[in-house]
């Protein structure tokens, strides 16, 4: 490989890594919008009172949580609107648990709520909130059947947001580093962020797969390792006698007996640990080697695995937005062109995702069900397009 080609390869790799980093920043902004805000999510189980169905006049939602940071300033709560404009006013109140007086309360028109989306109740920022217990209530003032909202079924059901002042964050280097670290840890607790980070690195992974000659150079080292493992395995097979008609049974029993014999013969702890490590690592390394070997010979299968993991992660964890979908579609198209995937793969995938959508539709994960449905549709479309192109190219008898 000449220098310029190698440089181009490295440059593309770097660009893809930068692309990944850029999209991670984009995603973190999408999740929290404002850089200086930290968000903590809470599941439905943490809300002490949730009326079932519509929330009528006088009924209330009561939640309790411990602030994990200072500068508490927003509570976001997911409502279910029944896809209508509800003519109700909800009263939001918040106080420190040990206090008898409400710190803040206000009235909100329910017709501005979006189904299953967080509605954010803002209040004057509490500077020293860290470690304190807070109670909030959301009460219906005029909810009646047909014009009332309900609590969403989706988890997390509410979020607490901490609005750090920009001056505080940028006042010193150490504070900035601390905030970036806290923010990163905060983001990493979110499954949507983790899933999207994985999806954004897929272009780089697929690029890496394409370097099959590089992996071949590792093959000799693996071969050496395998030789030693095989020696160990052959000892098992030759030194132990077991009578059974079942091959798997023979191998298993021989292995156990051999390890037990060897264990009894060893005298030092070091030898015993080595023996256990050999026994455990042999099948694992065999498995890994087999996979690497397979991927070396069949990078297409590795691509399929990565792409399926990507699409499934998207369906499971990404709640909204099309960026991840667009990236994954582009990568699917790239893989199809590179490895000539057949429409059969997409037929199987589409039916699997329809089944996933159907199953999830009867759980509280309706958004995930929708995303699975979306992927089923994408796979079906890819399947038809592949077939159409094939038929247009080859020609076939109509009807």
């Amino acid at each position: 490989m000449n220098k310029s080609k190698r440089l181009l390869k490295y440059s593309i790799g770097m660009i893809l890594l930068l692309f990944w980093l850029g999209l991670i920043f984009y995603q973190s902004f999408q999740i929290e919008n404002v850089f200086t805000v930290l968000t903590r999510e809470y599941p439905r189980s943490t809300v002490s009172i949730i009326p079932g169905g519509e929330i009528y006049q006088g009924e209330k939602i009561v939640g309790e949580f411990e602030a994990t940071e200072n500068y508490l300033g927003i509570i976001g709560f997911r409502f279910w609107t029944y896809y209508r404009l509800n003519d109700d006013y909800l009263i939001f109140r918040i106080r420190e648990k040990k206090s008898l007086d409400w710190y803040y309360q206000n009235k909100y028109k329910a017709d501005q709520f979006q189904p299953n989306q967080y509605f954010t109740f803002g209040f004057p920022v509490i500077e020293n909130s860290d470690g304190k217990q807070y109670v909030f209530e959301i009460e219906s003032s005029q909810g009646r059947p047909g014009i009332a909202v309900g609590a969403s079924e989706i988890d997390p059901i509410f979020v607490a947001k901490y609005k750090y002042p920009r001056d505080f964050v940028t006042s010193s280097k150490s504070r900035f580093i601390w905030f970036v670290k806290t923010k990163s840890i905060n983001l990493l607790t979110k499954s949507e962020f983790k899933a999207s980070s994985f999806i954004y690195i897929i272009p780089f992974l697929l690029y890496l797969i394409s370097f099959t000659p590089v992996y071949s150079s590792f093959e000799t080292k693996f071969k050496q390792f395998i030789k030693e493992r095989l020696k160990f395995a052959s000892q098992i097979m030759t030194q132990v006698n077991v009578e059974s008609e079942n091959t798997f049974d023979v191998i298993l029993r021989k292995a156990v007996q051999f390890i037990l014999n060897q264990y009894q013969q060893t005298t030092t702890i070091f030898d015993r640990i080595k023996l256990i490590l050999d026994a455990v690592s042999t099948p694992i390394i065999f498995g890994i080697f087999f996979l690497i070997h397979l991927f070396l010979k069949r990078p297409d299968i590795l691509s399929i695995v990565i792409m399926i993991i990507g699409s499934t992660s998207d369906a499971l964890f990404i709640k909204s937005g099309d960026v991840t979908i667009v990236i994954l579609i582009i990568l699917w198209v790239y893989s199809i062109v590179k490895y000539h995937f057949s429409d059969k793969l997409f037929f199987i995938l589409s039916l699997s995702f329809i089944a996933g959508s159907a199953f999830l539709n009867y759980t509280s994960l309706t958004f995930t069900s929708e995303r699975f449905g979306a992927w089923a549709w994408i796979f079906l479309t890819i399947m038809v397009v592949i077939n159409m192109i094939k038929l247009i190219k080859n020609g076939s008898e109509e009807g």
Partner: protein, 686 residues
């Protein structure tokens, strides 16, 4: 012998028609009246006068621009013609109820039969189309779409035939049938036109070696139906474009509606969001998808898989997938695409919500599941297993027909009866030759009689539309009271002038006939409170016309349709709802004329002799618009600078002139098309 019968197209058609008739037995075996929601009842005397040339201005209510002019052929011509010979219960069946069921069944049968060449597959395909939840909901509520969709399938088949045979005869016929579809529902035609376009492109791509000559022939064969449909529709299209200002606010500025009701899961499973499986729909309360509906996409795409070498199957799979994508509306994936199409693709703005794209899915799935059945029929397995499979697949759709068969679905499956009070009222109004309006308080009754000489008004509708600017009621939420809002307009000092100048002679309080859906659904307060309120108005006098429950008040001071505000005498002849000829009997200056139709800048006055075609070329033909204003009650007011005794004048709704031009072109096209069709048919037979 048995195989011959089973594979006979005639037997297949008979099966789907008979099952349709059994399903919709309420319509086929009785002669009752069916009405629900917007699908109202009409007396024959109301409809008879509709049989006339297309009219831009409708003389119903306080008058309005006829945006439904595109539906002129079925609603005005067919209805109007038949009303001379029969009652509503019959002509409504002939024009809407029966075709909505029969044409859909036949069309879908023929479509699947053509692709699968198998009668049983075609029967199952027809079940898929006719008994999916969307079409069932349409058939019990939105007939114009339902019939048009059915005709759309025939249009596709004719177009397919055109391209296959390369004959102009079929192209002409496609155009004529497409126009009928267009007349029933322009939106249905729009969707069919996209299918035809996609088919044309798809066919072209699949042709392989295509010469320029072949291309030109294909294009010319495809353009003919478009030219015919557009030319036949020119009677309203010309006016729409030339007089856009008169129509503004009606066709523009509408926002998307129903977001959240549609998701991709519902689209994939063809599950209508409000389908309950039994009783009538709960609007605004989307239902959980029944588990067995999830089998539908599996069956459909299995049908694709086993027939994926058939180009037509691929085509309809693509159409179904396009339908799924559009029907899911603004939900995932690509949430912004629908809005973009709505804002940028011509014609797409007619689809404020996405349910109509179910048409693509229903057609696609009927072909795919039909193809699956066709595949099953070719398998070497026992007849018992095959039969069980086919019955199982059919049952998924036929089970939806049960609430239609029993009538449990309600809506347009419940027989209604005209209450006797309304027959008395009809006679009472019909016999009076002079123009006046009736005002229903608080809400219009579906049984109330009206015609162009006696239009009816609905107070609840008016305070939110034509009288909105006069409605000062602003309370909302818990403070809101429907009776307060509806009576507030009469508490105004000018209320008497309002109903006088609006030519309201009678104010009517409808009955509470729950069986006929004639109920006070709008109001939480008892009916008596409304009667008590009207009793308290000094300018209304309660009269007895022989009704038992219906309460009627007379307003003795109501004004005629057109009158002079300052006492000048004018003789008025009504030529049509668009044209009134006037003859002044007294001399006068600055004569103020009131036309008690809601203000529209399209109304003009011509002093002197009038001929409509001259208005097309002469910009100063009418009196200047400066003399035409809106009065305090939103009505048309004209100021005529000077008139002499015997002076002639004409009040004319100006967009009508272009409608006349369009009508002439449309009629000529029709005659020429029929003539050409006849010649081509004769030539073909020779």
């Amino acid at each position: 012998m048995w195989n011959k019968i089973v594979n006979s197209r005639f037997v297949g058609l008979l099966v789907v028609i008979v099952i349709s008739i059994i399903t919709y037995n309420k319509w086929f075996v009785t002669s009752n009246i069916f009405g629900w929601g917007d699908w109202g009842f009409l007396f024959s005397d109301t409809v008879k006068e509709w049989f006339s040339v297309p009219s831009a201005w409708v003389g119903a209510g306080l008058g309005y621009v006829d945006i439904g002019l595109s539906m002129f052929v079925p609603v005005r011509i067919f209805y109007g013609f038949l009303a001379h010979f029969m009652e509503f219960r019959y002509f409504d069946r002939i024009i809407f109820l029966f075709p909505s069921v029969i044409i859909s069944s036949i069309g879908s049968f023929l479509l699947v039969k053509k692709i699968t060449k198998n009668t049983i597959a075609a029967i199952v395909g027809s079940f898929v189309y006719s008994y999916n939840t969307y079409i069932l909901m349409l058939n019990t509520g939105h007939f114009t779409l339902s019939v048009a969709f059915g005709i759309g399938i025939i249009v596709f088949l004719l177009y397919q035939k055109t391209l296959e045979t390369q004959r102009y005869f079929w192209a002409l016929l496609t155009g004529l049938v497409a126009f009928i579809e267009f007349s029933y529902e322009a939106r249905a035609f729009y969707l069919t036109a996209w299918i035809l376009l996609f088919y044309f492109v798809y066919k072209l791509l699949n042709k392989g070696n295509i010469t320029l000559k072949m291309l030109i022939k294909d294009i010319s064969l495809s353009i003919i139906p478009v030219i015919i449909t557009v030319s036949l529709s020119l009677f309203w299209i010309v006016s729409l474009f030339i007089n856009l200002s008169s129509f503004s606010g009606i066709v523009a500025g509408r926002q998307l509606y129903g977001e959240g009701h549609f998701q991709i899961q519902r689209a994939l499973t063809t599950f209508h969001p409000f389908w309950t499986g039994s009783h009538r729909l709960v609007w605004g309360n989307p239902q959980q998808i029944f588990w067995w509906f999830w089998l539908i996409p599996f069956l459909s795409f299995a049908g694709y898989w086993f027939n994926r070498k058939n180009k037509l199957v691929i085509f309809w799979t693509a159409i179904a997938l396009l339908g799924v994508f559009l029907t899911k509306f603004t939900s995932q994936p690509f949430t912004g695409v629908y809005l973009w199409l709505y804002q940028h693709i011509p014609g797409f703005s007619a689809f404020r919500e996405s349910s109509k794209f179910n048409y693509f899915i229903d057609l696609g799935y009927s072909v795919l599941i039909g193809s699956l059945v066709g595949f099953v029929m070719t398998l070497k397995m026992s007849k018992l297993i095959k039969g069980t499979l086919i019955i199982g697949i059919s049952s998924l759709f036929l089970v939806n027909a049960i609430p239609v068969f029993t009538g449990e679905l309600g809506r347009l499956l419940i027989s209604r009866h005209i209450p006797n009070d309304y027959l008395i009222l009809k006679d009472f109004i019909y016999k009076q030759p002079e123009f006046f309006r009736t005002l229903y308080f608080p809400r219009y009754s579906r049984w109330g009689y009206w015609d162009s000489n006696h239009p009816s008004l609905d107070t609840t509708v008016l305070i939110n539309s034509d009288w909105r600017s006069l409605n000062n009621y602003r309370k909302t939420g818990l403070e809101y009271s429907s009776i307060e809002e509806v009576t507030s307009i009469f508490k105004n000092n000018a209320s008497q002038d309002l109903i006088d100048m609006s030519s309201v002679k009678y104010v009517i309080v409808p009955t509470m006939d729950l069986e006929n859906e004639e109920m006070f659904v709008f109001y939480s307060e008892p009916r008596q409170q409304y009667i008590d309120f009207l009793d308290s108005l000094s300018y209304l006098k309660r009269i007895d016309i022989g009704t038992s429950e219906l309460v009627i008040y007379e307003n003795y001071q109501y004004k005629p349709h057109i009158y002079s505000y300052d006492g000048s005498e004018v003789e008025i002849s009504r030529i049509s709802s668009n044209q009134f000829d006037l003859k002044f009997k007294t001399k006068g200056k600055n004569v103020k004329l009131i036309l008690s139709e809601i203000f529209n800048p399209g109304w003009k006055i011509r002093i002197g002799n009038f001929s409509w075609w001259r208005t097309l070329f002469d910009r100063s033909y009418y009196l200047s618009d400066d003399f035409h204003t809106k009065n305090e009650f939103e009505l048309n007011q004209f100021m005529v600078p000077e008139v002499g005794i015997g002076q002639k004048a004409t009040l004319y709704f100006s967009p009508q002139a272009w409608i006349n031009v369009g009508s002439i072109i449309s009629l000529s096209t029709l005659l020429l098309s029929l003539l050409a069709l006849l010649i081509l048919w004769k030539k073909r037979n020779e």
